[in-house]
Amino acid sequence: MGRFDYVARRLLKSVAILLAIVVMNFLLIRMAPGDPASVIAGEAGAADAKYIAQLREQFGLDQPLTTQLALYVGGVVQFDLGFSYRNQRTVASMVGERLPATLLLTVTAFVLAIGIGVGLGVLAATRVGTWADSLVTVAALGFYATPLFWVGLMAILLFSVNLGWLPAFGMQTLGSQMTAGERAVDVARHLVLPATTLAVFFVAIYARLTRASMLEVQDMDFVRTARAKGLAPARILRAHTLRNAILPVITFAGIQAGQLVGGSIVVETVFAWPGIGRLAFEALLQRDYNLLLGVFFLTSVMVIAFNLITDLVYSMVDPRIEVGA
């Protein structure tokens, strides 16, 4: 049983899960009151029954629910996410345009959260009982308890409004002539606040988790064996303690990846970051069924992909997990 078979099996399962999610999303959205025809008609100031019926026919909303579902699922299977009548564009092109921004934001936040969180956790665990440990523990508790949007607003207030160090919103400075290098720096400067804001909550979680896990592993027999071999403390910490303590952190990171995508909706809204999170927010207000379903589909794909990657990474880091065994 090789890794290839395992990935193939997991991908097959993922397809089944995705289909179930698509069906469920479709039905849930239809249960909410209002539809795109009534919103468009209302905005046009012509909400008479005849016009709405005409729009419904045009959008295919007059068909029985099962027919609509079959049509939609049939399209998704062929990677056709439908058409946004509201925006007069295909959903695929709209989410495709926004995806890179969201990926940039979430992946950066993920890396920051793991890097800083694990670093602080190790720092606290190796200095347990000192002021450094207390500081990390208390700070982690504080960040853990603070709502994301508030952290974002305060960061804007401090670093953009008062100090003027970093841009407050958007992904790049508009309307300026820049070389590729300058543009990269510009995007990076825009990225700092939203990515850090999104990461803060997870930094707190990983710091606490790493600290607890390190303290547990420190007392294990194989760490005593490592000492009995005459290894240097740095080597014991890296190759024996941290190497084992990181395992629960990885498991947790996989589960948390989904929440990261969810958190990005709030952060994108606060920082006007042009990602799919904001697209979802707009589509929701406009009852743009197809666009909303498209966003949901994409986020499910991301969550499932994050989970699969985590499981694969875990199987590489922990040899006891034999994939497929």
Partner: protein, 537 residues
């Protein structure tokens, strides 16, 4: 007399305030010479492992620290070394192997890398080639394959060999072995003891060997130091300590070790049969998946045995042989796949669920781990009375009976209101026995009831079981890996190997004239088998 490698004088190790005694180790003296195995023997809590840790500089400081004395090694007092100086000694001059081969190796690092690490840490040349040599030296099969292996790929014995290879990589002058065979099966234990003996004499090492098992002492020691409550109460040559002990405690410990000569017992041929198991089979399957093959393990194959009224049948074998599976099938904790379990002529396998209830009270079990098998949140009285109450006894009567039972197992009846954590291991096992007896069973299934206990406590619990069995005329299935215990307790013995009973017969006959090769191998592997058989019988 040559200069000793290690000289311990007046060593005292303090325990943190609030412990049951102020010193873990108090004012002990001993010398370890080259080409000598010194066994530190004692019961749990006697301070033997902390003594070993002190010699390696591995005490869990600052809570436990040496407060007086000298450990002289190569002209230096070890107690005055800095951490950096300790690191130079550990691994290079002092090697150590530990009790639990399952947890003493890093689970996420290749075993070859874990050995290589020792060489690298001390700037030793040779690299992987030297690692392969070391794996060869500890007789591991197929060292090439082991290059890529992780600890979980290896058996307990193989892991312990890896530990030994690691400890001896840099040819230390002293090897400290802390209960290195306690977690191993008896046949594996015999091999590991032989390996330690062989390497020790090849390299003229001094070995400080910690153990609680006098059989192991008889097998491997040159000199013996007996520890009690942190003090060395007797120190001498193996012959002197084992054959002519002077201290009362040593005498008591040695007397508590069961001998391998089964006492003659009257046959129970005429007693009625209580339990008759025929063709019992249990197969564990892990379900396969779309791309995954099924895994099938035959834990019990065609097991046939019977127990008469008042008889104790021993079920012996190594870990994984299927002993516990058979016990659990009989008491219907798990369902067997094949065969009959006749209890007084009624096939228990024919019943399911509540229909079994009347039989549940007639067959009871005593479990191995007295710490894990009692609910820590329940009072002792409730634990014992729960069974009778479930069968309709009024709670007040059940509690009265619980007190009587505690008296029967030599505990004070007032302890009904205490919780399990307030008792020692031996006391807890007495509670476990009282619980099993509460329903007045006819058949007891005792699954390794004394293997978690110290030898003197073990002797008391075995005496208690024998006494109760005689008074209540109980039948018993006694599951054990310890052939010494089996020899003393059982009327008949059945030997299990890979799910099958390969031989059964009266204990005396089976111990004197084993016919199956596996039985002979088991008997041969018992440590110190020649000690206390001829001379002391």
């Amino acid at each position: 007399m040559t200069e000793p490698l290690l000289s311990v004088r007046g060593l005292t190790i303090d325990l943190p305030p609030g412990s049951d005694r102020p010193h873990a180790v108090e004012n002990i003296d001993f010398d370890l010479h080259a080409n000598e195995i010194l066994c530190l023997v004692g019961e749990s809590g006697s301070g033997k492992s902390l003594t070993a840790a002190a010699v390696m500089g591995l005490l869990p400081q600052p809570s436990v620290k040496p407060s007086a004395g000298e450990l002289t090694f190569e002209g230096r007092n070890l107690l005055s070394l800095s951490e950096g100086e300790w690191r130079q000694l550990r691994g290079r001059r002092l090697g150590m192997i530990f009790q639990e081969p399952m947890t003493a190796l890093n689970p996420v690092m290749r075993v070859s890398d874990q050995i290589l690490e020792v060489l690298q840490a001390h700037g030793e040349a040779g690299g992987m080639g030297r690692v392969m040599e070391l794996l060869n030296a500890v007789n591991l099969p197929d060292p090439e394959r082991l290059r890529a292996a992780y600890p979980h790929h290896l058996s307990g014995g193989q892991r312990q060999r890896v530990m030994i290879a690691m400890a001896l990589a840099l040819r230390p002058t002293i090897l400290i072995a802390d209960e290195p065979t306690t977690a191993l099966d008896v046949t594996t234990q015999a091999q590991i003891l032989a390996l330690i003996r062989q390497l020790q004499s090849e390299r003229q090492m001094g070995v400080l060997f910690i153990t609680h098992d006098f059989g192991v002492v008889a097998e491997i020691a040159d000199k013996v130091a007996v520890m009690q409550h942190g003090r060395i109460v007797e120190l001498g040559s193996k012959h002197q300590v084992l054959e002519a002990p002077r201290h009362e405690y040593t005498k008591r410990l040695i007397a508590a070790v069961p001998t391998l000569d089964p006492p003659d017992r009257r046959p129970l041929d005429r007693a009625p049969t209580v339990l008759s198991v025929k063709g019992l089979g249990k197969t564990y399957k892990t379900a396969g998946g779309l791309f995954r093959p099924k895994r099938i393990v035959d834990a019990a194959k065609n097991v046939t045995l019977s127990i008469r009224k008042g008889e104790t049948l021993g079920l012996v074998g190594e870990s994984g042989s299927g002993k516990t599976t058979v016990g659990r099938c009989i008491i219907r904790l798990i369902d067997s796949d094949k065969g009959r379990i006749d209890f007084h002529g009624v096939d228990l396998n024919a019943f399911k669920g509540s229909a079994l209830k009347p039989y549940r009270k007639r067959v009871q079990m005593i479990f191995q781990d007295p710490f894990a098998s009692l609910n820590p949140r329940h009072k002792v009285g409730d634990i014992i009375a729960a069974g009778p109450i479930a069968f309709g006894t009024p709670p007040a009567d059940a509690m009265k009976r619980a007190q009587d039972l505690l008296q029967l197992v030599d505990l004070d009846p007032v302890v009904v209101d205490r919780y399990p954590h307030e008792f020692s291991g031996g006391q807890r096992q007495r509670i476990g026995i009282a619980r099993a007896l509460a329903l007045q069973p006819e058949l007891l299934i005792a699954d390794e009831p004394v293997s978690a206990l110290d030898v003197s406590v073990q002797a008391q619990v075995l005496d208690l079981l024998a006494d109760i069995k005689r008074r209540l005329n109980l039948s018993m299935l006694f599951i054990t890996h310890d052939l010494r215990v089996a020899a003393q307790v059982c009327d008949r013995v059945a030997v299990m190997y890979q799910g099958e009973i390969v031989e059964q017969g009266s204990t005396a006959e089976l111990f004197r004239h084993p016919t199956h090769p596996y039985t002979r191998k088991l008997l041969d592997a018992i440590p110190g088998k020649h000690w206390r058989t001829r001379a002391h019988a």
